[in-house]
């Protein structure tokens, strides 16, 4: 026996279905209201999820880093070798990249000039992405130059750049990263280039993910900074990611709120439709009661009508929202199938559930009113 057959055996459901069929336009319009409500809730929710996933992906390369520089209570004018060793021991497996920085102006023979920041380090591979040439793990000779700067000056791989009287051959070109990432107008040199600078200006710790970065930052704080003293200034972007995440959550809630309003409007429309249809059928319901149909049976019949509106509207709305979700993920993430993951599907389930619950709640009063109408009064119509 199929589900339909089984449903058909429930008299209230059967009667409800036929009653809805009597005024198809009204039924369709009431259902449309629910569809719009569900689409509003579910697709705004899904859009929020897509936005959040995209923002996390964009920030991901930055949030796993901890930036350390010399604090106001430091005894030296930078980070000492001993401090770097201590940082290494605290950081464990994470890459620790000490840097010395300066600025210079690069100029070519034909008079073109570019202002660049100079960073000296031993391990650029942990910090930069290289679009051409190599990206050394141990950096003792040559130079890396930002793509944009190289283009501006007409430099290519293998060309020499001059810094502080020394020539360095360009080994790799650095790709500029989007957002807050490094890579614009930079000249990266081996540590030996800035040998006269005794201390490091900054140390970057590159952890596996944002959580680990935060943990390392917390450990560094306790190790170096006692009380209000700030020997080392430790900055982690994990907290930035958290606040962006919480902002997006708020945004998502606001979007859902807007979506819920349309579902509330839809359920008021259903309340109205159900109320009108029970008032119209007052005499008929009186007949039902007269021939011995119980109050509970009348109540269930009308609730079933409201439930049908909710189930059908919710289902159509969920399907439409899925289509919207596919489009949103295609545009924002370039991969429409991401919509099938639970964070998005959750909103389809939520929208459907809301539709059914809201419709049933809207049906409750008309159903109660019709069921408790005294038969004598109802029969008068």
């Amino acid at each position: 026996m199929s589900v339909t057959d089984l449903l058909w055996r429930v008299p209230s459901v059967q009667m409800a279905w036929r009653n809805l069929g009597r005024n198809r336009i009204r039924t369709a319009l009431a259902t449309l209201g629910i569809v719009i409500g569900v689409v509003a809730i579910a697709s705004l929710g899904i859009a929020g999820v897509a936005l959040q996933q995209q923002a996390t992906a964009d920030l991901g390369s930055l949030t796993n880093e901890v930036m350390i520089s010399s604090g106001p209570d430091s005894d030296s004018d930078g980070i000492t070798d001993e401090q770097v060793e201590e940082i290494r021991s605290v950081a464990g497996d994470a890459a620790v990249v000490p840097e010395k920085t300066n600025q210079t102006t690069l100029s070519t023979r034909d008079g073109r000039e570019a202002f660049v920041s100079v960073t000296a380090m031993t391990r650029p591979s942990a910090m930069y992405t290289v679009s051409a040439g190599d990206n050394p793990d141990r950096f003792h000779s040559g130079a890396l130059l930002s793509n944009g700067t190289a283009m501006q000056l007409g430099y290519e791989l293998g060309d020499p750049v001059e810094y502080d009287g020394q020539l360095y051959r360009i080994r790799g070109l650095i790709e500029a990263e989007g957002g807050f990432g490094p890579g614009g107008n930079e000249l990266v040199l081996p540590l030996s280039a800035l040998a006269e600078q005794e201390h490091y200006d900054s140390v970057t710790v590159v952890a596996a993910d944002g959580d680990e970065a935060q943990a390392i930052a917390d450990r560094l704080e306790t190790r170096f900074n006692e009380g209000d003293d700030e020997v080392l200034s430790v900055t982690s972007f994990a907290s930035a990611q958290e606040s962006i995440g919480s902002f997006l959550n708020t945004l998502n809630l606001a979007l859902l709120g807007i979506g819920s309003i349309s579902l509330v409007v839809a359920s008021v429309a259903i309340l109205n439709v159900m109320l009108m249809s029970t008032i119209e059928r007052r005499g008929e319901i009186g007949v039902l009661r007269a021939v011995g149909i119980r109050r509970g049976e009348v109540l269930r019949m009308i609730l079933a009508e409201a439930m049908f509106l909710g189930v059908i509207g919710g289902f159509v709305g969920a399907v439409a929202s899925l289509a919207v979700g596919l489009a949103v993920f295609e545009v924002l993430a370039g991969d429409p199938t991401l919509v099938l993951a639970w964070p998005s599907v959750r909103y389809l389930v939520l929208g459907f559930g809301f539709a059914v619950v809201a419709s049933m709640l809207s049906g409750l009063y008309p159903a109660w009113k019709a069921a408790n109408d005294p038969p004598v009064e109802a029969l008068r119509g």
Binding site: R9, P11, S12, M15, R18, N19, G21, R22, G283, E284, V287, L288, R289, A290, V291, G292, I293, R294, R295, E297, P374, P375, V376, L379
Partner: protein
């Protein structure tokens, strides 16, 4: 055997500020196998009386007895059970449900009672009222007389002891009305039920075993 009995029944309505006494102490009884016609001008309290006999309403004073049991103080739910099992209704305007077929309309009073299938009895009743070839027609595909015969079959589906008819011929022409009354008379004998018909149609008097005249809420001797 007395099926239904009104004993000194008074029914008062509140209409705005004033109280209207629709029935002023009515004694009435109906026996199995008899057709009682209640006749009277409009506003005489006929419909009120029928509502009380049909357990659709409760009296302000007096007692209502069904099969000798006092049902005066029954709750609405108890009255519903009594109506379901013991009373059939036929209305002036037929009151069939438009989205159901003739057979389904007949089954309606027993529809929620899933413990037994009344399809066979519904078909049997429709055949007996001459609608064996109209089983799957909806009310809009039936004439007024045919609709009223469906309504009669519906009233009998639960094997009631009493059938109440409110102006059963009111919406029908004379000839059709006559066939309906013939039908009721026949069923009254076959099913051994009491029929109480309320009307101001003189035609019904020919078919009545007993006529009760109601004027201003009182039964005339």
């Amino acid at each position: 055997m007395t099926v239904v009995e009104l004993d000194g029944v008074v029914k008062r309505y509140r209409s705005g500020q004033e109280v209207i006494e629709a029935l002023k102490g009515v004694d009435f009884r109906a026996e199995r196998g008899e057709m009682v016609t209640v006749i009277g001008p409009s506003g005489s309290g006929k419909s009120t009386m029928l509502n009380l006999v049909g357990l659709l309403d409760t009296p302000s004073e007096g007692a209502v007895r069904l099969d000798g049991r006092d049902v005066t103080d029954f709750t609405e739910d108890e009255l519903t059970e009594e109506r379901r099992s013991g009373i059939g209704f036929v209305f002036q305007a037929f009151h069939l449900l438009p989205m159901l077929t003739a057979t389904e309309n007949v089954e309606l009073p027993s529809m929620w009672d899933t413990s037994r299938d009344r399809r066979d009895r519904a078909v049997d009743l429709l055949q007996r009222v001459g609608l064996g070839d109209r089983l799957d027609h909806t009310p809009s595909q039936l004439s007024g007389g045919q609709q009223q015969r469906v309504a009669i079959a519906r009233a009998l589906i639960n094997e009631p002891e009493i059938l109440l008819a409110d102006e059963p011929t009111g919406n029908l022409d004379q000839d059709t009305g006559r066939t309906i009354l013939d039908e009721l008379t026949r069923l009254k004998e076959i099913e051994n039920i009491a029929i109480v018909a309320v009307t101001h149609d003189e035609q019904l008097l020919e078919y009545a075993d007993r006529v009760v005249r109601l004027v201003d809420g009182e039964i005339q001797p």
